[in-house]
């Protein structure tokens, strides 16, 4: 409760707190430097320090807190989900489909992960849950070909939204990344404005490697927005701050559980407060 001087030691503690939330050393230093400007050596109550810190983090995040908007003139509006293995792509497709269904839209899902065991069955369960037909082929089929078929069918059915799942892949694997490029190329062949959204899914536990994920997925597939999953755990996902500073890509949603409703819009203020360890404001 005692006031504390905003001196070098305090600033170092703040920097450490940010590092522990995965902001990375550089971003943590930039933010603590910003809050010390004009306040250095002044007495500040501990809660106030956190609030100042949160508002500084929020400043970086606010510009990327952009909702995903569907252009209804695109029919189907094509969303491609990409990311490293196990990040939460398939689950997020299920949750997004539910949101669109609640808006009265018709949704089709494409089981583009033709590699992983039971990836197709997993998406089919989600399709049943949310009332969306799933286009699938057998395991091992060509993912780009499947995406093309799905576009054709979604168009023929008059679906409002088509969500295309892809296999998880690590961004340093050239072969798998060029397979992803091919998927995008084939989609563009059908409709050169598609995919209308290419969402990179990031796991909240991820550390500094997310920087390379965004860079390389961006290069291969042209990421238009991010979703961060698993924020219901203990990880704070602070790498989003470093990503916002470097890439400025929109962050659309956060995943907060495994259930169909566990997807929330990204809110810069809430996220910033959680990062610095302040209670969420209701």
């Amino acid at each position: 409760f005692t006031k504390r001087k905003l001196d070098a030691a305090t600033l170092e503690d703040l920097e450490d707190a940010l590092v522990q939330a995965d902001l990375g050393v550089q971003t943590a230093m930039q933010i603590t430097k910003a809050i010390s400007a004009g306040r250095y050596d002044k007495e500040i109550a501990p809660d106030e320090v956190k609030a100042i810190l949160a508002s500084e983090v929020e400043k970086t995040l606010a510009p990327v807190a952009v909702p995903l908007t569907l252009d209804r003139s695109k029919k189907p509006f094509v969303i491609l989900m990409i990311g490293v293995n196990g990040a939460g792509k398939t689950t997020t497709i299920g949750k997004l489909a539910q949101k669109f269904r609640h808006q009265g839209l018709t949704v089709m899902l494409a089981a583009g992960d033709t590699f992983r065991a039971a990836a197709i069955e997993q998406l089919k369960v989600w399709g049943e849950r949310v009332g969306a037909p799933v286009l699938a082929r057998e395991q091992g089929a060509d993912a780009a070909g499947l995406a093309f078929d799905a576009l054709q069918q979604a168009k023929a059915n008059g679906s409002d939204v088509l969500l295309i799942d892809t296999a998880g892949r690590l961004q340093n694997k050239a072969g798998l990344m060029s397979e992803l490029e091919k998927i995008v190329r084939v989609i563009k062949k059908f409709d050169d404005t598609a995919p209308h959204a290419t969402l990179l899914v990031l796991d909240a536990t991820v550390g500094q490697n997310a920087m390379s994920q965004v860079e390389l997925f961006q290069k291969a597939a042209g990421v238009t927005g991010l979703v961060m999953t698993k924020l219901d755990g203990t990880a704070r996902g602070g790498i989003l701050v470093a990503l916002a500073a470097k890439f400025g890509l929109p962050v659309h949603f956060i995943g907060v559980g495994e259930g169909v409703e566990d997807l929330e819009p990204f809110d810069a203020r809430d996220f910033a407060r959680a990062i610095v360890g302040l209670e969420e404001t209701v």
Binding site: V25, V84, R116, A118, E121, Q122, T205, N209, D232
Partner: protein, 297 residues
């Protein structure tokens, strides 16, 4: 991003022309770079602190050797300390118990448990000629049981028949019973992913453990993990008594500081690493290689 800790340390230390021992000042200057390098490699902050303390104790007062530069010398001390903390020797899966030996696989969602379960089963079957039974206790994730069944077929290992409606503990009991009756050596129990703050699911895992008395409890964790590695490792170890760690996605380009974090806070060995999506992409853990990787060397 990291063009060698060696170069940076050389820059700092090699301007020293004096001979003799490394002073505390020299070492502290070097350790600031070491700290940063480790944090950029995703080693958890608290582990970085204890690590740099140990290096300081080793390096201050060390005689500068004529044949190497002070920078190289500190890098060697850092590397050796890392190897020591990572566990020096490779430890393998311990099956030394009365069969059927249960192996419980636990971890966060999507860390690679199911895939790793199949990989280990394949290894035990092919290399150690064990008769292995696989069972999925994941009643939550869509098609989790089918996933394990497909993988089991792929590696030629039996999976427990799927019975709808059973709880994780019921399935675990059924698996142990089936293994006893079927003369299996090993039963691998794949569990649902869980965040550690999910009290209900952590209790479920503890109940499974109590019902099956596993000889190994393997924490499957992602090499891409950042600072949260310490929370995860600590929580699973405290609740379930982890006996070893498997680090997946080592085929990625992450530095893998989570290895040091998890090892340091639990004291539990890293037993294996996952190096790909295919069922044979499983390797022994080599502390020296991982140490070099963390240091970007």
């Amino acid at each position: 991003m990291f063009d060698g800790l060696s170069e940076k340390l050389s820059g700092i230390l090699n301007t020293l022309t004096r001979r003799g021992a490394l002073t505390e000042e020299d070492v502290n200057a070097a350790l600031r770079e070491v700290r940063r390098a480790l944090l950029e490699a995703d080693v958890a902050l608290e582990v970085v602190r204890s690590f740099t303390d140990k290096v300081r104790a080793r390096a201050v007062g060390a005689e500068v050797i004529k044949s190497v530069s002070p920078g190289q010398q500190v890098v060697k001390i850092v590397h050796d300390q890392l190897v020591e903390m990572l566990g020096a020797d490779a430890e393998i899966i311990d099956l030394n118990a009365a069969p059927p030996v249960a192996i419980l696989m636990v971890g966060l969602q999507g860390s690679g448990k199911t895939t790793t379960t199949a990989k280990i089963a394949k290894r035990l079957t092919d290399r150690e000629k064990r008769k292995v039974l696989l069972a999925s206790l994941d009643t939550r994730r869509p098609a989790a049981m089918e996933q394990l069944a497909v993988l089991g077929k792929q590696v030629g290992v039996d999976t427990l028949p799927i019975v709808a409606g059973q709880s994780a503990v019921q399935i675990a009991r059924r698996a142990m019973e089936a293994a006893r009756l079927g003369g299996y050596d090993v039963v691998m129990l794949d569990t649902a992913g869980r965040v550690t703050v999910d009290e209900g699911l952590m209790i479920e895992a503890a109940d499974v453990k109590a019902a099956t008395d596993p000889h190994e409890v393997l924490l499957v964790a992602d090499a891409l993990t950042g600072q949260d590695a310490v929370n995860t490792a600590r929580a699973f170890d405290e609740r379930l008594g982890v006996t070893g760690i498997v680090l997946t996605r080592m085929d990625g380009d992450a530095r893998g500081g989570a290895a040091l974090s998890m090892r340091a806070v639990t004291g539990k060995p890293i037993k294996l690493i996952g190096t790909g999506e295919k069922v044979d992409a499983l390797e022994e853990f080599h502390p020296s290689r991982v140490s070099s990787r963390i240091l970007g060397m």
